[in-house]
Point group: C3
Chain length 351, copies 3
Amino acid sequence: CLLTGSALAQSSVTVQGLVDLSVGSVKMSGDKASTAAITPGGMTTSWVGFKGVEDLGGGLKAEFALTAFLRPDTGESGRFGGDTMFSRDANIALAGSFGRVSLGRDLAPSFLPVVIFNPYGDSFDVSPLVLHWYVPSGGFAARTWANSAAGDSGWSNEVIYSTPNFDGFSSNMHYQFGEKAGDTGTRNIGLNALYFNGPFALGAFYQKVQVSNPTGGSAIVDATAAPVSFASINNQTAYFVGASYDLTAAKLYATYTSSKNDTAAGKQMDDKIYSLGAKIPAGGGDILLAYANTKRNGSLTANTELKRDTMSAGYDYNLSKRTDIYGVLMSDKISTADRATSVIAGIRHRF
Amino acid sequence: CLLTGSALAQSSVTVQGLVDLSVGSVKMSGDKASTAAITPGGMTTSWVGFKGVEDLGGGLKAEFALTAFLRPDTGESGRFGGDTMFSRDANIALAGSFGRVSLGRDLAPSFLPVVIFNPYGDSFDVSPLVLHWYVPSGGFAARTWANSAAGDSGWSNEVIYSTPNFDGFSSNMHYQFGEKAGDTGTRNIGLNALYFNGPFALGAFYQKVQVSNPTGGSAIVDATAAPVSFASINNQTAYFVGASYDLTAAKLYATYTSSKNDTAAGKQMDDKIYSLGAKIPAGGGDILLAYANTKRNGSLTANTELKRDTMSAGYDYNLSKRTDIYGVLMSDKISTADRATSVIAGIRHRF
Amino acid sequence: CLLTGSALAQSSVTVQGLVDLSVGSVKMSGDKASTAAITPGGMTTSWVGFKGVEDLGGGLKAEFALTAFLRPDTGESGRFGGDTMFSRDANIALAGSFGRVSLGRDLAPSFLPVVIFNPYGDSFDVSPLVLHWYVPSGGFAARTWANSAAGDSGWSNEVIYSTPNFDGFSSNMHYQFGEKAGDTGTRNIGLNALYFNGPFALGAFYQKVQVSNPTGGSAIVDATAAPVSFASINNQTAYFVGASYDLTAAKLYATYTSSKNDTAAGKQMDDKIYSLGAKIPAGGGDILLAYANTKRNGSLTANTELKRDTMSAGYDYNLSKRTDIYGVLMSDKISTADRATSVIAGIRHRF
């Protein structure tokens, strides 16, 4: 009776999420000292939310997702102060034999290729590639390194068309409205492509970013005023190619990313990132090795080449299909600062 | 085992919500240009939350609702910046043969009559009546038209007594505490009445508003300083009558709303809104036609009559009981600005 | 099919919460006038959230909790403006025969002893002990009495080790990282112990607080500038002993709490709180009587002893195991202000 009623009422929506917390000593290159800390999301950014699928008949489905990032070390919502509540997912889609069309806040074109082609996946704490591409270094008012990606790992006001899977090949086409009155030329566009064939996988993205996220009107790269400001960048074109091959004894990863940035005043900055990685099964878990290297050039940085390299070595052990524990050692070096080392150990639980 | 335990633990609460997103070109009268945009809540404001009912025996039930509005285009919570998290519902009630008493944040007296007696229901984007009554036009710092209703579509710090249903007739009596120390005279009060008899329905509300929402201490109509400010209004008395008749070939709607506003300095402003509507079944969906007209007079507007009329023509098609798609064309005209046209197409999914 | 899939997907997480709302006239000693109000959380602070347990085999379990406080009178999230979203719980734990280790935001050492050893439990509105220990009096900019506890009822960035239960005895050891770069000496530490033996129970805590909550960088006691400021306090050591005995005709409670505060400039303030309580079964519910008395001394208050006593008399009646209604009369007296009386009646529903 009550049980049945409730189960039926619940049948269209599931509560899902992930809690990841680690303990460690964190110091990025450029930081003055190490910080002993509980860090949220060592391996995956923690989140919680609601998802549902409705079968509309004739092969057509309606799908929605409302999911929120959170920082379980303090209980704060979002990935950072000023993030929106449902910045991970706030979208609805129609899916069928034609593919899938979604509206709302959803992934940026760069997200899937970047997280699929490195052994640390979507770790915004210890994946060298993800750190270089998405995560600024240093506190907000004292950046030591601005991330390369413009316009966030998720896009608001977005339409995505996803193709069906053609023998392992699929592609997602992304469009974000700029939502400026009288201006339809300012917007974000991009696409990615993924190909899986047995042990081999290939991925690529291209994106052109002019609009900030999760809400508009901010700098697309980094609004920090000092000492490193790229707030004047108003246009970024980026592309990426990545591949992985599973030799069974080890899964190997390689990627190359390029971003070209322009300011209204005609200055520019080019970032080139390459990354290598390996995932090696051992002792019931995986040894995870990853390296990323960025070279930053252009008139915006006074034509002085800036370099950064970061490497992580870790071990991830599954307690179950849903719960794993891990330990990671990371070394980070910016050309203008000393090498710094972090070490974290944590637990990740999916529900 | 786990399943049973979980299902039992879940039996007292359900997760419910609605995601509505549309794509369109939006321009209200007074806007300088059209904006191409993803708009959240084209037909219904998106929301998600928790509801539960407990049978206490003897015909008595405890009911609660905690539901949050959200904007899935960006993932932001609330209807606007500064809205409270659970501004849609945050209340608990006891219900029985005597009727129902609820405490907390809940509907304003005006809400049910306004959304029941127009063919676009609770659309805060394209229902002419809802737009005129509840939604200010123009950006926050540049209002072109202030909405007529004072004190929001939901009231905080509220007690509602709802009568049982007497042969189709029911009434809700609302009281919102002003929560000012030493002052019990400043509060919101109101009531509404609804009558359903076969194809015919009748509704009315009366409300007297002195307290802002969702939190107190703000202007009750519109806090915008310029160019249109009604921040000095501290008292509004409003009433409404509406009717609908279902001819099967079409359901017809008509309403009349009057609001009288006073300022501490003795100025006043009177709004009179009438609206007409029709819902016409066609092709498995409904053609929706609606019109609203407001006349604004009084010393607060320098005794110059301001006028606004808005009309919407749309089509709503059900993909299932829970999911529909729609397209709407809207025309809006303020007497001091040019006529403007919007067009949106979207999808709404209930869960 | 859909039902089964959903029920299975749901099996690992439950939605839980509590809504408590009351109507009353509230005046604390030092307030200029009574306020007629809907108050959230008369008996328990309202909350909603997600909890889950996973059996990892071998007696090992993974547990998580993400729960949010809220104020259902207005729909606001958190206990106060600036609170974090999941300030009640945002943690993950591994539990087994060794005990339990948790990471994240969780209880402070003082919480369980304080709420277990008074008849009003975790009421932040009418439990005299909880009010004196945790809740400041007067509005934010016009404090009339600063609470005694430093560092909140929950701690962020925390590791807790909980012992197994040894014949009724258990203990929790708490450590909160200060998360200051290059400084591991600034942190919160504490522990509590609980002992249950038939009708008799005993509890104690010790804690040393240097870090503010729910986020760091604020004053640990009260940041209000005027007229009562303890923002310069940077170190508090506190301890507590409490006992209860259930005579069947009545359950009796007694506690003693001491806090010693230091400022960087060498000033200090000592609070001593004793409380007494009784829970007397009557008429199917419980009569609840409670009293707390605080004496405040030290150079920070110019060596003038400040005193406060508060008493509450109420009745709590269970409509079901999950829903109760209550009425409470409270009298509050600060030595520098007149005695003030509050009366509230409310309903509490667990789900």
